[in-house]
């Protein structure tokens, strides 16, 4: 259903890999699913223990690590690439 907005499929790109244009949308959705799974039952119950690791509660460490990981991967997926349509175009609009 989701036609991954803004990810304009170019006809001439068929068959070749278009770096970061069409795949970016798919990667983001993949990350969302992974994040939603990791941050819910039953993963949480695995780490729900009265234990300390390196002096921190294990659940606390787990949640913040996954959180940070998601942010990192997100930044990686969204980093600007040479193949991107130039930002100046949108800049020029207003």
């Amino acid at each position: 259903m989701m036609d991954t907005k803004g990810t304009v499929t170019r006809p001439h790109g068929e068959g070749r890999s278009v770096p970061g244009v069409k795949r970016r949308g798919e990667r983001l959705i993949g990350l969302l699913i992974a994040g939603a799974v990791l941050l819910n039952f039953p993963f949480l119950s695995v780490f729900s223990a009265y234990k300390l690791i390196f002096g921190f509660p294990v659940l606390y460490v787990y949640l913040f690590s996954v959180w940070g990981l998601i942010i990192g991967v997100k930044a990686l997926i969204l980093r600007r690439r040479p193949a991107d349509p130039a930002a100046d175009k949108t800049e020029a609009k207003k």
């Binding site: 803004g6 819910n40 119950s45 959180w67 930002a87």
Partner: protein, 905 residues
């Protein structure tokens, strides 16, 4: 000692600073050097999400439920993953349609429906009311904590008595100053955004400061703090999921409503969409904003644990730990700083929220009603708009204050805020389905929104009134009229969920169910269909907005339009809008000319930026004579869309055809090259063949010319040779002509039904002279019935003659024998020419059919044929879809055989 006046001076000083920052932002914007046009300011302004709830409430929540404060921040982190896809589309749509608020957005999507806009506004105002009261409560409680903590400050009850009311009034004035200073209300609030971004930095630094102080100064580092906490009975359980009320279902529900809240709370929509300067900024904000959330939450649990261990359980409100901990440690400067941070968090939220809500209140609720009642015929609408907006801000804050007075004391901060989140979640289905599913209809959205809102009111809002004693408590427990199945916290006796999860479950079920169900079973109006197509296919349109021009069918004069614009947005800006239109369109704008459709559509969009899409539509249609919405125009647009799709299909097909044609051309080119090579070869061979007889003719002619005394008998002989060679030459030239004609395809075949036996007889007759000369026996054999084929008679005769004369030529005169045999089966006719000549070597049998391949008799050195006869035969037979080949026979000669398909009658 923290004196009251110090607190007040610092507070007002801070608010003034904020105002200066906003002023600076506005000045920069006016100078054309926008300060907010960078992704970092954008990100920090989004952090208006973190309010008094985050600053004070999270710690309280953590003190009660451990990590239970986190879903509210993990949800936005997850939602931000899809910002690049979803948010960018919403921003794109909003910019194209001059959208001013979330109500405007939803109303525009569903056919610019005033009813939907009004409903969304009502849901927003009622739904956000608890959220605003939360901020009032946070500020007033923190005030009271600062004032009352030391006995010295216990006096002065007169002022403190109703802190919240004063705060509400101050905040209202502040918001009015911030958001509605200008007459030109369409402008983005650059100053406000700057101030909000600044506040976000202040609250992050303040919260981190108190976090670091508690963790490192009071407890000697996080390791110690957690070790103590793990040992203490009252804090140890906070480190696992066990303390989370409602369990994992609640965790999931909170994550879900936070995911929707980050986009669809009116103030988030305002900041993320309306105030967005550049879609590219979403790229950075998608990861930087979650990082901000992570940073501001890092110290929540340590502070909560520290507070629980430091104070006797229940002696101090956990919501205020961030203030009471530094106060307890006599760090008054820090406490004051923290208080300013909390003030930042709460004021930021109130400012943006009230501005967003008052815009909606004015554009989507008040204006359409006033327009309907025809109460708006004033000359300067700009001023009236400002008054309405300012009134709206006051009204909204007062509502928040009332709610606070009613229930404020009985709830913790986060519980109040979650009620608002559940309300904002009601917008998610209408928006998300709306921008991806054209079928979502106005009636569906109306049913979904109102259904969800009613369930929310019943399951969350009314019980909160009951708790405050406004409604009898028996309404909640066991339920209205004592029926437990109607109990707002356990509808249909669904008791497994906590109140929030319970409400989210039922309201979402009703909301999505009605939206989808009613949409599937209702018919969309013309304008709805158009808007739906525009919203869903926004990236496919060539130019957004260009489509709705033809919707205006009636007539109006330029002067009327100008008058309307001047009333609404002021004469100067109206003039500007007309000039900008005239500069891009080839049109002369005199007052008495009729305004064309695209001019009207352009002005409607301009107007929408001030009064919202629905009001703009009503206003413009009020000055248009005749039918405002032309069905013909709409059909044309829809038609055009399908035409574009059709066109692209055709293009695809064309390109496939072109590919095929290219392949064909390539093949043809190869063939042409081959033919060219063959032609060269042919020309050189033909020249060679022509030269041989010519040479001998010339040689003999020269002898005849030079030797005048030659005997007549010898002269005769030489002349005979010359004549024979000339005949050979003629034959050769004829055959070359025939061959090239057939080979090049220029030959016109005359096909008819014919009997192959007659062909055979004709050929025999033609060669009878030759055979008699050489004294040879020729026999024939043919079936009784005619052997009918479809072909060119003359050419077929030529083939048989060629084969016969070859046979005659190569046989010994006298003893030579040739036999013709015609036969046929169901499919093909077969003609054999059998001779008793020298026969052909197996290796030669293929080659003799090629051009200029000459059969050389080993005994005679001179070639006897032209080398074209058999090649011509082969071409003719293949043209008749037949085959020709040679094999040896019982007489030790050779048999030339060809077949042609039989013609069935």
């Amino acid at each position: 000692m923290l004196q009251n006046w110090v607190i007040l001076v610092v507070s007002f000083g801070y608010l003034s600073l904020l105002f200066a920052v906003a002023y600076y932002g506005d000045k920069r914007a006016d100078a054309g050097r926008s300060i907010i046009s960078n992704p970092y300011i954008y990100t920090f302004s989004i952090a208006v999400y973190c309010t008094g709830w985050t600053f004070y409430g999270s710690v309280g929540r953590a003190a009660a439920t451990g990590v239970g404060f986190l879903p509210v921040y993990l949800g936005p982190t997850l939602a931000a993953i899809l910002w690049w896809i979803v948010l960018r589309k919403i921003i794109h749509l909003s910019k194209a349609n001059n959208i001013t608020s979330i109500a405007d957005f939803i109303a525009s999507r569903y056919g610019k429906s005033a009813v939907i806009g009004g409903l969304v506004t009502v849901i927003s105002i009622v739904g956000i009311m608890p959220y605003i009261s939360l901020q009032l409560k946070a500020i007033s409680t923190s005030f009271n904590v600062l004032f009352n903590y030391h006995p010295v400050n216990a006096g002065g009850p007169g002022f403190i008595h109703d802190t919240a009311l004063y705060i509400a009034i101050v905040l209202a004035l502040f918001s009015i100053l911030f958001g509605t200073r200008h007459v030109d209300v369409t402008e983005r609030h650059e100053g406000m955004v700057t101030a909000i971004a600044f506040e976000s930095i202040v609250k992050l630094v303040a919260f981190s400061a108190v976090g670091i102080f508690v963790t490192f100064t009071m407890f000697d580092g996080p390791a110690n703090l957690f070790r103590y906490a793990a040992e203490a009975e009252e804090t140890a359980h906070l480190m696992s999921m066990d303390s989370l009320s409602g369990g994992y279902a609640s965790w999931l529900a909170l994550t879900f409503i936070s995911m929707t809240a980050i986009l669809f709370l009116p103030r988030q929509f305002q900041i993320l969409v309306v105030e967005n300067v550049n879609e590219e900024h979403v790229r950075t904000a998608s990861w930087l904003f979650p990082l901000y959330l992570l940073a501001i939450n890092l110290f929540v649990l340590p502070i909560a644990l520290g507070g629980l261990m430091f104070f006797r359980v229940g002696s101090v409100d956990a919501d205020m730990f961030v203030l009471t901990l530094p106060l307890k440690a006599d760090e008054e400067a820090l406490a004051l700083f923290v208080f300013i941070g909390g003030l930042s968090a709460a004021t930021g939220m109130v400012i943006v929220e009230t501005i967003a809500l008052s815009t909606m209140f004015c554009n989507d609720l008040l204006m359409p009603v006033l327009l309907r009642l025809k109460l708006l015929r004033q000359d300067d609408m700009g001023k009236l708009l400002l008054v309405m907006r300012r009134g709206g801000i006051l009204l909204i804050l007062l509502l928040g204050y009332l709610y606070f007075r009613l229930i404020g004391e009985s709830y913790a901060l986060v519980s109040i805020g979650l009620v608002s989140f559940a309300a904002a979640a009601q917008f998610a289905p209408a928006i998300l389905l709306g921008i991806y599913w054209k079928g979502a209809s106005r009636l569906g959205a109306l049913a979904g929104l109102s259904g969800g809102f009613i369930v929310w009111t019943y399951t969350l809002l009314l019980p909160s009134f009951a708790r405050s004693g406004w409604i009898t408590m028996s309404f909640v427990e066991p339920g209205p009229f004592g029926i437990s199945a109607l109990g707002p916290y356990h509808l249909f006796d669904l008791t497994v969920f906590d109140p929030i999860t319970h409400s989210v479950f039922w309201s979402m079920l009703v909301n999505i169910g009605l939206l989808v169900g009613v949409s599937l079973f209702s018919r969309q109006e013309a304008l709805e269909q158009l808007q739906a197509a525009m919203f869903v296919d926004v990236y496919k349109k060539r130019a957004v907005g260009a489509g709705d021009a033809r919707l205006w069918h009636g007539k109006t004069q330029v002067s009327d339009l100008k008058g309307l614009m001047a009333r609404m947005i002021g004469a100067d800006r109206a003039e500007e809008a007309f000039l900008s239109y005239a500069s891009t369109h080839p049109i002369e704008l005199r007052d008495d000319t009729l305004a064309d459709e695209s001019l009207v559509a352009f002005m409607e969009r301009e107007l929408a930026g001030t009064v919202g899409a629905t009001s703009a539509r009503v206003m413009v249609s009020s000055i248009i004579e005749g039918e405002a919405l032309s069905i013909d125009g709409l059909m044309k647009i829809l038609d055009e869309t399908s035409q574009v799709i059709e066109y692209s299909h055709r293009l695809e097909q064309k390109s496939r055809e072109l590919e095929a044609a290219t392949r064909e051309l390539k093949r043809t080119n190869e063939r042409l090259k081959e033919l060219d090579r063959m032609k060269d070869e042919f020309v050189s061979t033909v020249s060679h063949e022509l030269r041989t007889p010519l040479t001998s003719i010339r040689a003999f002619s020269e002898i005849l010319q030079d030797d005048e005394n030659m005997e007549p008998q010898q002269r005769q002989q030489l002349l005979r040779i010359v004549v024979k060679e000339t005949e050979r030459l003629t034959r050769l030239v004829n055959q070359v002509l025939d061959f090239t004609k057939i080979e090049s395809g220029a030959y016109q075949w005359v096909r008819e039904k014919l009997d192959l036996a007659s062909v055979m007889r004709e050929a025999l007759a033609a060669t009878s002279q030759l055979s008699q000369n050489r004294n040879m026996t020729i026999t024939q054999e043919a079936p009784d019935i005619p052997v009918m084929v479809f072909g060119d008679k003359d050419r077929l005769v030529q083939v048989v003659i060629n084969l016969l004369s070859n046979a005659i030529k190569y046989c010994e005169p006298g003893s030579g024998r040739v036999h013709l045999m015609l036969s046929h089966n169901a499919d093909e006719a077969k003609l054999k020419v059998i001779d008793n000549g020298p026969g052909i070597e197996p290796g030669e049998r293929e080659l003799i059919f090629e051009k200029f391949h000459q059969f050389r008799d080993s005994s005679k050195d001179k070639p006897q044929g032209t080398g074209l006869g058999l090649a011509i035969c082969k071409t003719i037979i293949e043209n008749h879809r037949g085959r020709i080949w040679v094999e040896s026979n019982q007489w030790k000669g050779s048999s030339f055989i060809f077949t042609i398909p039989i013609m069935h009658s």
